[in-house]
């Protein structure tokens, strides 16, 4: 990891769980942002859930494409949203959490914002998922807020965590 990586803030979900995790008032002193996620969603019927991403509370002008493996097939899909997938849902192996990472280059730029990342559901079973994701937010505003919410179920379980890093290009 580059020496310019700086931990901006972090959180761990408490005993009640939470419907979403939002970083607000993100400082404007970096070039890129990186978010490291360790998550388990509360959907009891699935081994994996994707992560819905929102920048600055905006749900418009978004696009997403992913390629992924399910354990038995290699597939792709797209949608007019922004997502990062997949991480564990609550039918996966007990006490395991999915890992995901989102990289946002030039988050202060006046151009449209791209954000790419990967995710994996760390379940000890055949039916799991591993994803590579490409997102675009067609908006010229600087990113000052990022929200992560599960695509399935209603929230993240206790001990889920998120770390936001800032990266300078010099």
């Amino acid at each position: 990891m580059a020496t310019t990586y700086t931990l901006i803030d972090k959180t761990e979900v408490g005993s009640g769980g939470t419907s979403s995790i939002t970083f607000t008032s993100i400082p404007t002193t970096y070039t890129d942002l990186l978010v490291k996620l360790s998550l388990r969603g509360n959907d009891n019927s699935r081994v994996a859930t994707w992560i819905n991403i929102t920048f600055n509370g905006s749900s418009s002008n978004r696009s997403w494409k992913r390629v992924y493996g399910t354990g038995s097939a290699a597939l792709s899909e797209s949608d007019t949203t922004m997502r990062l997938g997949s991480v564990n849902a609550n039918a996966s192996t007990s006490n395991t959490f999915g890992n995901a990472e989102l990289y946002i280059p030039n988050y202060l730029s006046s151009n449209y914002k791209s954000a790419s990342g990967d995710g994996v559901a760390e379940t000890n079973a055949t039916a799991t998922q591993l994803d590579l994701n490409a997102n675009l937010w067609s908006n010229t505003a600087a990113i000052n807020e990022i929200t992560f919410a599960p695509g399935d179920g209603t929230g993240w379980l206790q001990y889920s965590s998120a770390y936001l890093y800032g990266i300078k290009n010099s």
Partner: protein, 75 residues
């Protein structure tokens, strides 16, 4: 029964708070979940159709005399 909460981390003040969702936010959450479920069902149906077509094609190739190794080499 109270609404679910959302976790907000203020990177400037380092304050972390749990905020109860508004009724509108709960409605949006439920709409998003319904949309995700519909998309998942559509995707799973497409995956099943692809798998069925693949199995059918493999069976037809086998009837033509191709070995399993020769059929695998086509994919």
């Amino acid at each position: 029964m109270p609404n679910p909460t959302k976790l907000i981390i203020n990177c400037e003040t380092k304050e972390q708070i749990e905020v109860e969702l508004t009724d509108e936010e709960v409605a949006q959450l439920e709409a998003d979940r319904a949309k995700a479920e519909a998309e998942r069902a559509e995707r799973e149906a497409a995956e099943a159709a692809t798998a069925e077509a693949k199995a059918s094609a493999q069976a037809k190739l086998a009837k033509l005399g191709l070995t399993p190794e020769e059929i695998s080499a086509l994919y």
